[in-house]
């Protein structure tokens, strides 16, 4: 899979530069870092659709023993009868590149790190586009990830096992629930034949809301 040009303004925003920059040196570095990142990345994603049911503990994924515990996943998936479970990664090459740059050129490392953050979002968006060309529903929720609200991060292990993520795209999770390769995402989207409430997206459901640097400066991350 080839990455599209990376949204540099998004990367700049991650770097704390919300209005873009006209600094020539920075722009030149962004360009060269993008080239390096595109060379190092081998983006992959993977998804599957599962029926769900609602239990006292949370949302149960059919044909498995996995329960999305807590109230926030249940609220997010209200009115849904299925979910699309997906995961995506930029691959290990990006981790190698980041390690190398952190030794030889820290400024570039920081820029590549931000560009990679923007890139994995783009890959998720692309996956979503493909998914909804193939999977039909009347309405759907936005992408929801472990760690949001009261959905525990340790569900990541079960979700990635269910998707056979290691075997199929080389994505694993550490005991500390950190994914490796590090530039990776796990998420699910609720599907409904009725209507879903999409209004809940925003800072209130985010577990970073008390320490978010975007909120501190009066903005938000855009999700």
């Amino acid at each position: 899979m080839i990455l599209e040009p990376i949204d540099k303004n998004e990367a700049l925003r991650y770097l704390g530069c919300k209005d873009g920059t006209d600094n020539e040196q920075m722009l030149a570095m962004l360009d060269s870092c993008e080239k390096e990142l595109l060379k190092a990345a081998s983006p992959k994603y993977l998804y599957a659709v599962y029926p769900i049911s609602f239990t006292d503990d949370g949302v149960k994924i059919a044909d498995s023993n996995i329960i999305l515990k807590g109230s926030s996943a249940a609220a997010h998936l209200k009115n849904c009868d299925r979910i699309v479970l997906m995961c995506a990664t930029l691959g290990q090459g990006v981790d190698v590149l980041l390690r190398r740059l952190q030794v030889s050129d820290m400024a570039s490392a920081v820029i590549v790190d931000s560009l990679a953050g923007a890139a994995i979002e783009q890959i998720c968006n692309r996956a979503e586009t493909e998914i909804f060309e193939k999977v039909h529903s009347n309405s759907r929720t936005w992408r929801y990830s472990p760690g949001y609200g009261d959905l525990p991060l340790d569900i990541q292990f079960d979700l990635l096992t269910l998707l056979q993520a290691q075997k199929r795209i080389g994505l694993t999770v550490m005991n500390s629930n950190m994914m490796v390769p590090t530039k990776s995402v796990t998420a699910f989207i609720g599907l409904s034949e009725g209507e879903v409430d999409r209004s809940t997206r925003g800072c209130e459901s985010c577990n970073m809301k008390d320490r978010c640097k975007f909120r501190k400066s009066g903005g938000h991350c855009g999700n």
Binding site: C17, S104, S108, A109, G147, L153, K167, M178, V180
Partner: protein, 790 residues
């Protein structure tokens, strides 16, 4: 029984097909642990095994693929229990069939990525595999099968565990993507080199793709491997929405015929294949005469992702070696691994194909440092390494943790050396450099050196090290001391190459020792040596003339066909046009503001002529850095710019350090600070930014890296008597580790202060877990360091 013997006796062997696919067809839920069925559904498993035996399989795999301690950790069952049951089921099915079928202990990846990308240590991976091997061996498995592997490093841990804890034949199979590489970037050739070197019985590919898509990989395997090739494709490609595979049993078996013709020795199936696939395949190819291709290979070594064939001159970078380098020695004493990594990256960027790694220094634990250096270097570059030590114990430690097939530097003609080094080279499947000296030293005449080379080659062959893995070093003597010896060296190089057909290696730079304009002599001697048959010059690749000589030689000898490499190296020599003022107008402050490293270094050199280093640091560098720091706080510049400025200051500091080292003065340091990214956390970019900034304010940072044990932080804080410890964590789940680390610091009665930072931290939380300070960014950490240390 050895696989090769079996192939000679029975002809082409058939492996079984998918287990998971069969279990799911019988009602196993997705995401459940299939190995638990070994205890609860014995009959079902025996029935599946039996159906593959009846289909014609010569080897069947027990249901033990994921039976490792990590994957079973939530199951309440032990590895021994599950594996024993799996092997017993398999053996019983074989016994009931009354056929001569072998039972394979089937072992897949652990499920966690190894260091450096993941946190699982090589040694831990070894122990996990060892537990599986011990259980399977005891239960009576006939063969060990490692399959669906994607990381060569993990595979190496697995093979070592199997070899050191059983005497069973080992079969290895990796999973490749359509680009010919695994997820970790490993090509099939690297798999072959590792497996052959470690004495594996068969090597190959399984899963991920169907037989059609795998043909290029299978062709490579059959054309490059000296050991039998195993192939177990999927039943084509799965439909992403339905999960159904694209080809049927008949089509699969037709591909099997093609695969057999290519020279493969063992054929089976992976995901989506059924007993019917195996039956049709067996009907067509089972027992067919095994006809592997005959393989000729020149010396080839590899890292986990990069194969280097010494079929033409290859540059070995010599800079990772403390001999005669004060800064390097200082770095070793301070455990400053980043210094070594910087040397590695610089040489690779300059054109090194292989890096020599020598960290021998009397005052340090060379073995521990060698392990750390090898692991770290292979995390940031992909060139193969040459392990350089005079101590066999150090060599062995490095050979174990090396990812791929390395070169060992070196063995010599002395009995003691041959006896100690060659068994290690053989065991770990490395290539080796043989020095043409013995107990009487370096003989003066070429013929005498050739005789020692002959002895070394003979001894290698006796112990089973193939000739292709030998490189002979005829030794460069210093021209200023032994002018006539120069020609003897060149004569010996030519003779060794022509007579024995082995590779040749020379440390080039020694030629000019004690003479002026060393670069000129090195350069000319290198060219002369290349013309006499030198394959592996050990040089400083950062000197443009040296790397250039090799590139030019390759072009002029028509090795670099169509001058491709030469043009790639020099064709785009157009300077990037960034508007900047005339050099004479650039001040230190301007250079720091604008990221001009080279200018800043030059200015610092000039200042040092008549200015005290501490004055430069305190009155020029730090105020300039403070200014960019303030601009950063005000949001007028952003993070990369702040770091760029810091990088410029770093280059000034490097100049000052080199100046002080030259004058044997005390080093400049405002004090030591320990930094660590806490246990369980591998995202350490934030900590590394802090490190860069602290160093540029003159602090010495003891960087413990990422995923750091609690005790390691305490030990470092004690050892270096630091006043400040900095801890970072990225995730809510690893904040617990931060708390534990702080608690242990306090429990040990250390008086140092602790500063914490990281994306999910808040000042309130920092206080709650007992930290003395919370830093919101790198700049604030510097302010805190100033407060605590001064």
């Amino acid at each position: 029984m050895e696989i090769k013997t079996l192939l000679e006796q029975r002809g082409l062997l058939i492996f079984d097909g998918a287990m998971g696919t069969q279990l799911q067809a019988k009602g196993l839920k997705t995401g459940e642990t299939p190995e638990l069925l070994n205890l609860t559904a014995k009959d079902l498993l025996k029935e599946i095994h039996r159906s593959y035996i009846d289909a014609g399989a010569d080897i069947i795999s027990a249901n033990t693929f994921g039976a490792n301690s990590y994957k079973l950790s939530h199951s309440g069952k032990s590895v021994d229990e599950i594996i024993t049951a799996g092997i017993v089921n398999c053996k019983e099915a074989i016994k009931e069939s009354d056929k001569d079928v072998l039972c394979a202990l089937d072992i897949g990846p652990i499920g966690q990525l190894l260091e450096p990308t993941g946190s699982l240590k090589f040694e831990e991976a070894y122990d996990i595999f060892k537990e599986e091997i011990v259980a399977g061996y005891k239960a009576g498995a006939d063969v060990v099968l490692f399959e669906t592997m994607t990381d060569l490093y993990e595979l190496k841990a697995a093979i070592l565990a199997a070899k050191e804890n059983s005497d069973l034949p080992i079969i290895c199979s990796m999973t490749f993507e359509e680009n010919g590489r695994t997820f970790t970037g490993c090509p099939a050739e690297a798999e072959i080199l590792l497996c052959e070197g470690l004495g594996v019985s068969a090597v190959g590919v399984n899963c991920s793709l169907g037989p059609k898509e795998l043909m290029p990989i299978i062709t490579t395997l059959c054309e490059k491997s000296k050991i039998p090739v195993i192939v177990m494709p999927n039943a084509g490609l799965p439909d992403p929405a339905t999960g159904e595979y694209s080809i049927d049993a008949e089509e699969f078996s037709e591909y099997a015929v093609e695969i057999a013709k290519l020279g493969a020795g063992i054929i089976g199936g992976c995901c989506g294949t059924t007993p019917e696939f195996i039956r049709r395949t067996a009907d067509k190819v089972k027992g067919r005469k095994y006809e592997p291709k005959s393989i000729e290979r020149v010396c080839t070594i590899c890292s986990g992702t990069n194969v280097v064939e010494v079929s033409q001159p290859r540059i070995i970078g010599e800079r990772i070696n403390p001999t005669g380098k004060k800064l390097f020695k200082q770095a070793l004493i301070n455990d400053d691994i980043d210094y070594i990594l910087g040397q590695a990256i610089e040489q690779v960027n300059a054109g090194a194909d292989i890096l020599d790694v020598n960290v021998g220094l009397p005052d340090i634990d060379e073995k521990a440092m060698m392990i750390k250096a090898v692991k770290s270097i292979q995390g940031v570059t992909n060139v193969p390494l040459q392990i350089d030590s005079t101590i066999p114990e150090v060599l062995e430690a490095a050979l174990r943790v090396y990812n791929g097939k390395p070169m060992v530097n070196s063995v010599n003609g002395e009995e003691e050396s041959l006896k100690n080094v060659l068994p290690l080279v053989k065991k770990y499947g490395a290539a080796v450099v043989g020095l043409t000296l013995d107990k009487d030293g370096i003989p003066p005449k070429a013929e005498q050196r050739v005789a020692i080379a002959e002895k070394i080659i003979k001894r290698c062959e006796e112990i089973g090290i193939p000739k292709e893995d030998i490189a002979i070093d005829c030794l460069t003597l210093t021209a200023s001391a032994e002018q006539l010896a120069v020609n003897e060296t060149l004569k010996a190089v030519r003779a060794v190459k022509e007579r024995f057909g082995v590779r040749t290696v020379l440390g080039v730079s020694n030629i000019s020792f004690g003479l002026p304009n060393r670069e000129l002599l090195n350069h000319i001697f290198l060219t002369m040596a290349l013309e006499n048959g030198l394959d592996l010059p050990i040089i400083n690749p950062n000197v443009a003339a040296m790397t250039g000589a090799v590139r030019a030689f390759k072009l002029l000898k028509a090795i670099d066909v169509n001058s491709v490499e030469y043009i790639a190296a020099y064709g785009s020599d157009t300077p990037t046009a960034v508007a900047k003022p005339k050099s004479s107008d650039v001040t230190l402050e301007y250079a720091i503001d604008n990221g001009l490293k080279a200018d800043a270094a030059k200015i610092t050199e000039q200042l040092l002529i008549d200015t005290d280093p501490m004055v430069i640091i305190n009155e020029r560098l730090i105020p300039a850095l403070d200014k960019t720091g303030t601009l950063f706080e005000q949001g007028k510049i952003f993070l990369p710019q702040l770091i760029l400025s810091a990088g410029v200051a770093q280059s000034c500091f490097d100049v000052i350090k080199a100046h002080l080292a030259k004058n044997n003065s005390e080093t400049v340091s405002k004090g030591k600070i320990v930094l660590a990214t806490v246990k369980g956390d591998v995202h350490d970019i934030g900590k590394n930014i802090v490190k860069v900034l602290l160093e540029n304010y003159g602090y010495t940072v003891i960087d413990l890296g990422k995923d750091v044990e609690y005790q390691a932080v305490v030990d470092a804080a004690k050892k270096h008597e630091v006043k400040l410890v900095g801890l970072s964590a990225l995730m809510t789940t690893t904040l617990k580790s931060m708390e534990e680390t702080i608690k242990l610091i306090h429990d040990n009665g250390l008086t140092c202060k602790v500063v914490v930072g990281g994306a999910v931290l808040t000042p309130e939380y920092a206080e709650k877990i007992g930290a003395d300070f919370y830093a919101k960014d790198a700049k604030e950490t510097v302010d805190i360091a100033k407060k605590v240390i001064g």
